[in-house]
């Protein structure tokens, strides 16, 4: 935490932390406390009067079917993104770990989607699946599935944003799975081979269990990613539509606040999201403690 030796006391350390702390207070803590305060207020439609209403905004939210739907939807979306992306990445990592030649080349070819902005990824996938022009939609057409239109069909819209979000995250998951597998001592695998376990069996009985800390860690990271960082994808591809079929919580905060101008509700949603982030962060740090023991 602190060095055994340090410099004699002076104002210097305060000057050193000042920029970071100033930005933190002005742009993080102050707005967050504003959100907290706002969440307890009710403003009329014209912004003329505000009234302190305690937790009314929260109770209103939790009795609002739309909000609860958004909650469920976010969960389904996040879990789908995590599962799709992690399984694809795990498969590729297992294969990359197996081949002796070309591991680095494959890695190079697989990591770059990380660098693509979510909104850009959204645009790419939207183009591929565009109902009139898109190449994938054309293939669907040829296969006889002519009704594809993510602009009208909510489920199809969901599939599309999940794919775009998962695609972008494959790189990250691949890197961590590969690193996790390379950290497993080769002697363990060799011992299992001598015991007569074939490659498939070795994977399920040795490699996969030993990877479980990595898997859990990635699950949390992917959930956080899907919860908060996919705003760009949703906004660029579906705008939460059609008929709110892809409206996840982060998008709803934005939409209710900026478009709908329902400040109290938007603030209350912010506070709920903060609670979720705090929960996920705590889980993540718990995990790190476990990793240290491991």
């Amino acid at each position: 935490m602190l060095k055994r030796v340090h410099f004699p006391p002076s104002v210097l350390p305060y000057l050193l932390v000042a920029p970071q702390v100033a930005i933190t207070i002005v742009f993080f803590i102050w707005p967050a406390s504003q959100a907290l305060y706002q969440s307890l207020l009710l403003e009329d439609a014209f912004g003329l009067s505000t009234k302190f209403v305690w937790f009314e905004n929260f109770t209103a939210l939790f009795s609002d079917d739309q909000y609860l739907d958004a909650f469920k939807r976010t969960f389904v979306f996040s879990l789908s993104v995590a599962v799709v992306s992690m399984s694809a990445a795990l498969l590729l990592a297992v294969m990359a770990d197996r081949v002796i030649k070309g591991t680095t080349a494959y890695r190079t070819l697989l990591i770059w989607p990380y660098a693509v902005a979510p909104a850009v990824a959204g645009a790419l996938w939207m183009f591929l699946f565009d109902p009139t022009l898109g190449i994938v939609a054309y293939v669907f057409d040829m296969l006889g599935y002519t009704s594809w239109n993510f602009r009208l069909n909510g489920n199809e819209a969901m599939v599309l944003v999940v794919l775009a979000a998962a695609w972008k995250q494959i790189s990250y998951n691949f890197l961590f799975f590969l690193a996790g597998m390379q950290a497993i001592p080769k002697s363990l695998i060799e011992a299992a081979a001598i015991d007569g376990a074939g490659p498939g069996r070795r994977f399920w009985t040795i490699v996969f269990p030993l990877l479980s800390p990595t898997t859990f860690f990635l699950l949390v990271i992917n959930m956080v990613y899907a919860f908060f960082e996919t705003f760009g994808i949703i906004h660029a591809v579906t705008k939460g539509g059609p008929a709110k079929a892809t409206e996840i919580l982060v998008f709803k905060v934005y939409n209710d606040g900026f478009v709908g101008l329902d400040l109290g509700s938007s603030a209350a949603q912010s506070v709920i999201l903060m609670a979720i982030v705090i929960g996920l962060t705590v889980i993540q740090f718990r995990y790190i403690e476990r990793k240290v023991e491991y």
Binding site: I23, V26, F27, V116, V253, M274
Partner: protein
């Protein structure tokens, strides 16, 4: 690999190649689309092989602008994005280095208080406090300029933690040797600590550059003035053509241009990138 099974190895390569193709397919299509003209891009099926208009399209995008964002060229947007990404990444690194240095090497009242304050930023992503943060920035007159685009994003708990971790692994004796050599706190920081952390700084720079470049929601809120548009946020605007159908060849050219800088950074600085990813997750 433990035993020699050529078939299994072949299969592994096949899966990997397939994976690479699936991952790369959207990019290929982007490239192909950006190399055709407007007419070809309205005929189904769309082409799978590149056309001959790549450089025309490139020139047009860089100098003119695309679709309903005609007022500002993609070249300007690229410069805006570059400025924002650089300010964010350099700003994050600078203030995180300084605060990590203070927290590790000085004992002073409220040290832990500051530490936790910085830690809290980890739990407050911009997405969850959009409205009040926007209001602060507006009140400070920081809308529609580079300061507003970058400064609210440069506080960084992850970077501070990473540097703290790095500093903690630097042996105490180096500070003692430096003190005997007569180096004061600022000298020690500039001559010893920063040069010794340079690979970590570079790794962090790669990650933070990508983070900055890929910002979407924040520039969307802060820039109403089209001259300040960043490339990533404007693509969305372009696809929302109101009257005519979107000019896909130009949009895809823009998309390509939006991807190239961060992708080049990741691929050319792969080692630093991997180091940065793994170290900021501690």
């Amino acid at each position: 690999m433990v035993e020699n099974r050529p078939l299994l190895t072949l299969f592994s390569h096949l899966v990997l190649i397939l994976g690479v193709l699936v991952v790369a397919f959207p990019i290929w299509i982007t490239f192909v689309a950006s190399s055709h003209d407007a007419v070809r891009m309205t005929q189904v099926p769309l082409p799978l092989l590149p056309g001959s208009h790549f450089f025309d399209n490139l020139w047009q995008a860089l100098t003119e602008g695309v679709g309903n964002v005609k007022e500002v060229s993609v070249g300007t947007m690229l410069l805006n994005s570059l400025a924002m990404a650089l300010m964010i990444s350099i700003g994050k690194i600078a203030i995180s280095l300084l605060s990590a240095y203070a927290i590790v090497y000085f004992r002073f009242p409220f040290r832990m208080g500051f530490f936790w304050m910085i830690f809290i930023t980890l739990m407050l992503p911009v997405e969850v406090r959009i409205l009040p943060t926007f209001k602060v920035v507006a009140d400070l007159g920081m809308l529609n300029n580079y300061w507003g685009l970058s400064i609210p994003l440069i506080a960084s708990a992850t970077a501070t933690f990473m540097f703290r971790q790095v500093f903690l692994t630097i042996p105490d004796e180096l500070l003692e040797a430096a003190r005997i050599d007569g180096a004061g706190p600022l000298r020690f920081f500039a001559d010893i600590l920063v040069p010794m952390s340079r690979t970590n700084i570079a790794a962090l720079f790669v990650i933070m550059f990508i983070y900055g470049w890929n910002q979407y929601l924040w520039p969307l809120l802060i820039t109403q003035d089209k001259d300040m548009y960043t490339i990533v946020m404007s693509i969305k605007q372009m696809t929302e053509a109101s009257e005519e159908s979107p000019e896909w060849h130009m949009i895809m050219m823009t998309t390509l241009l939006a991807m190239i800088p961060p992708v080049v950074v990741v691929v050319t600085m792969q080692k630093l990138f991997v180091k940065g990813l793994t170290e900021t997750e501690k």
